[in-house]
């Protein structure tokens, strides 16, 4: 039985790598750098919380003649602070923040010239932004909230060959037109009037997912852009300098309790090209 499984994996591998030979270009990049997060979450505070983290990001690009498949994930964990300086009984007023993002996009080359390409397509993305604000000492003084959305976005990519300092410039832009949004609460009036009461005995994740709703851009707005400069080092490796911008906003209730998140990242990446690139 073991051998049969191995054979299946072997032939699948052969098939994959055979196909890989025909791929136009694809590569894998590991990024890190600085991610500056700013959050104004009126559900817990009127203040803006700010902080910088060192994110860890992975990107897989599969480039065919007409299509690009892109798989991207990032993770960071940090503590955010506001302008509040006065403390009471050493109250920290510290916001613990965890961010996770996973995107997959497929885009088709619509306009092609000798130096540039324009791609349009769709992106499926999922993010979690967990926050826990320690207002007063002890567990009862914690204010916890989680933003989570799974979105289907319109995606646009522009690439331009620039033989000065860098070799290539890429610009990515996406904005969701429909999202399945989840909120850490028992009442999600911002998306509809439905109510979901979480039964602890049934676990938490299942009911939370059941309690989400599909919303459009008027209820959940997000825009993500990314400018990438690529410098080829040799036929296999290149470096990337990436500036990412990500902003989203929604209201917890209708016209009440706004949540706004702004993330600017400056990342440095090392790319491995699966197929040899000509320098």
């Amino acid at each position: 039985m073991k051998y049969k499984k191995l054979l299946v994996f072997f032939f699948l591998g052969i098939a994959f790598f055979s196909n890989a030979q025909n791929m136009y270009k694809h590569n894998f990049t590991i990024y890190t750098g600085f991610a500056n997060h700013k959050i104004k979450d009126e559900t817990i505070s009127p203040m803006i919380y700010r902080g910088t983290a060192m994110p860890f990001c992975l990107e897989l690009n599969l480039k065919y003649k007409h299509y690009i498949h892109r798989l991207y994930s990032s993770f960071d964990r940090l503590e955010l602070l506001s302008d509040i300086s006065n403390s009471y009984r050493d109250n920290p007023h510290t916001l613990s923040n965890i961010n996770f993002q996973l995107d997959y996009s497929i885009e088709r080359n619509i306009i092609h010239t000798s130096t540039s390409n324009h791609y349009f397509g769709l992106k499926i993305s999922s993010f979690v932004n967990y926050r826990n604000l320690e207002i007063t000492k002890g567990a009862s003084g914690m204010a916890m909230t989680v933003d989570h959305a799974n979105s289907l976005s319109i995606a646009y990519t522009f690439t331009y060959n620039i033989p000065i300092v860098f070799d290539k410039l890429e610009f990515h832009l996406s904005t969701p037109f429909v999202s399945y949004i989840l909120l850490e609460d028992t009442y999600n009036a911002n998306v509809n009037e439905d109510f979901y009461n979480i039964d602890p005995s049934e676990g938490v994740l299942g009911p939370i997912y059941k309690g989400g709703s599909f919303v459009t851009i008027n209820k959940f707005f997000q825009i993500a852009s990314n400018v990438v400069l690529t410098k080829q080092l040799n036929s296999r490796f290149s470096t990337k300098l990436s500036y990412q911008f990500n902003y989203y906003s929604f209201n917890k209730y209708e016209n009440l309790l706004k949540v706004k998140s702004l993330n600017n990242s400056l990342l440095f990446g090392i790319t491995y090209n699966f197929t040899k690139n000509e320098k």
Binding site: T43, P46, I48, D83, Y88, L133, I135, A143, P200, L262
Partner: protein, 345 residues
Amino acid sequence: MKNKLLLLFSVSLFIVGCEKLFLGDEPGDNPKDVFNQFWKDFDMYYAHFQIKNIDWDSVYSEYNTKITPSSTDLELYSVLEDIVLSLEDSHVNLYTPFGYASYDYYAGSPSNTRINLTNYIVPGASHANIEIMEYRNVQDNNFGYLLLKTFAGLGEGIEFHDKRYFYIDHIIDEFYNKDGIIIDLRDNGGGNSANAEIVASRFFDKRRLYYKQKYKDGPNENDFSDWIEYYNEPDGSKQYHKPVVVLTNKRCLSTTELFVSAMATLPHVTIIGDTTGGGSGNPVFRELPNGWSMRLSTSYSALSDGFIYEGKGIPPDIPIWISTEDSINGRDVILERAIEFLNNK
């Protein structure tokens, strides 16, 4: 190199510049700004103006002139404390370096608390979860005595409930052959509603509506959700359906009142003692720009029959108070009445 520096400079400018554009302004931290933010937060999020007939605009008019940007922090505290106390809401609190402002919801009421428990209860051994609940036998009777000290305690990770409350299953096992159980909630100030649901479910016979809640869901005073209904149902390996008496006093508040409302729906349960504290606010913590913190109520609740108990409390089926004379004589007449009630069943 010049191009790179220009790029980095542009990026930095963009990062700094777009904060105000995307996130908006922040309130200042001088006393006037803090007062305004305090008033605005209540104006937007506080859920009890209507049911308590409070004119929040007139509160602003009354206190606004007392605070200026150059007021001292102590003057600011004095004003905010006055406002907090005037709301008469046990779930509204202000945390400052000058103190903790909170409405004393049981002030002036008799304590109606436990007196000389050992006169009525057989002393028993300690157990692992004794800080949240104790169980003993009632002297000279085949009744169990369950003292629920608190419903506090959070779940681990993403769980809502504190696992220690599943100890109730062991207690139900121990008490299963008793002729009745006395559940003493007196002085239990609340905690986590998920814990209360666990304990109550061991007494349920079927799925029942036990309370309803309205959330403040808009910026206007009358912006509320529809009634949201909460149910509980039998859970655990065994449920106890023989006579149960629940003892309450004025200090029973918040989650403890949810427990009372759950038990009050059951035909085999009788509530004895004093009216509960009357706090159903589902409070949230918020912070003020100067670092002070506060809690405010964002909802109000009603029993399954529609009675809104915020500020009023849940009345017992059999009201009884411990008089000063009883207290001096060391008599817990509430517990005595509970034993008598069960004996007459």
